[in-house]
């Protein structure tokens, strides 16, 4: 397992994606899946950075494991306010451009792309685990 502990700040997004991409490249992940995984990692990390510790600051821990059969498991942990992003209602993606609200798509994209995703609040931590076959 590989682990990254990092200040939960949007400015650190590039470092988080570098960490993930290095693991994906080592494991010869195809480009399409890598883009899908990066999109999800960005959405989840930016959510933590923007909301978990507001107005204070804190850390996020990202743990990555390659599973057998081949899949990537990424677990995000933070000690911020308890928040289950999976409980958020899905946006209506059939609306026209004029009817659609700006935003609200991030976690929906994560849910659609994941092969498995789960959330728990344990030991004062938000724990979100995203699994994607590759």
């Amino acid at each position: 397992m590989k682990e990254l502990t990092i200040d939960a700040k949007v400015d650190n997004l590039d470092r988080v994606l570098e960490f993930i991409d290095a693991i994906l490249e080592e494991n010869e992940c195809d480009m399409k899946t890598q883009v899908q995984i990066d999109v999800c990692v960005e959405e989840i990390f930016v959510n933590i950075a923007n909301y978990a510790y507001t107005p204070g600051e804190g850390e996020a821990v990202i743990q990555v494991e390659v599973l057998d059969p081949r899949a990537l498991s990424i677990t995000f942990k933070d000690k911020g306010v308890p928040y289950n992003p999976l409980a958020k209602e899905d946006p209506d993606i059939t609306l026209s451009a004029d009817e659609r609200p700006i935003g609200g798509l991030g976690i929906f994209m994560v849910k659609k792309s994941a092969d498995d995703i789960s959330y728990e609040y344990k030991d004062d931590q938000n724990i979100l685990t995203y699994i994607k076959k590759f």
């Binding site: 949007v10 400015d11 997004l13 590039d14 480009m31 399409k32 883009v35 899908q36 990066d38 999109v39 960005e42 959405e43 930016v46 993606i93 059939t94 609306l95 026209s96 451009a97 004029d98 659609r100 700006i102 935003g103 798509l105 991030g106 929906f108 994209m109 659609k112 792309s113």
Partner: protein, 99 residues
């Protein structure tokens, strides 16, 4: 990292995007669009060299689409298979004009 090249020709404005349209680069593109749309009736986004788009990037495209619905049209060109897949998942394929 996002490079934006703009070509303005009368009422046609074309953006050539290169790199990543994500949380860190989307604000730059959003302000570039806002500064460029006066009198524009045809907005073209050439994504041949765009590698990646996140929901922050989609937000910018949606707000540009809303503006262009009032004053003309907007077309996405040369987007990659990876990016088209993201448009499909989010229903953006139905609201954007993708050529």
């Amino acid at each position: 990292m996002l490079n934006i090249n703009k070509e303005a020709n009368g009422n046609v404005c074309t953006f050539f995007l290169e790199g990543r349209l994500d949380t860190t680069t989307a604000p730059q593109f959003e302000s570039e669009i806002k500064d460029s749309l006066e009198g524009v009736s045809s907005l073209i986004m050439d994504m041949a060299k765009l590698e990646y788009i996140s929901s922050a990037g989609l937000r910018v495209l949606l707000s540009a689409q809303k503006i262009m619905n009032k004053q003309g049209s907007m077309v996405i060109k040369n987007s990659s298979e990876e990016i088209n897949e993201i448009f499909d998942v989010t229903g953006f394929s139905d609201i954007l004009t993708i050529e």
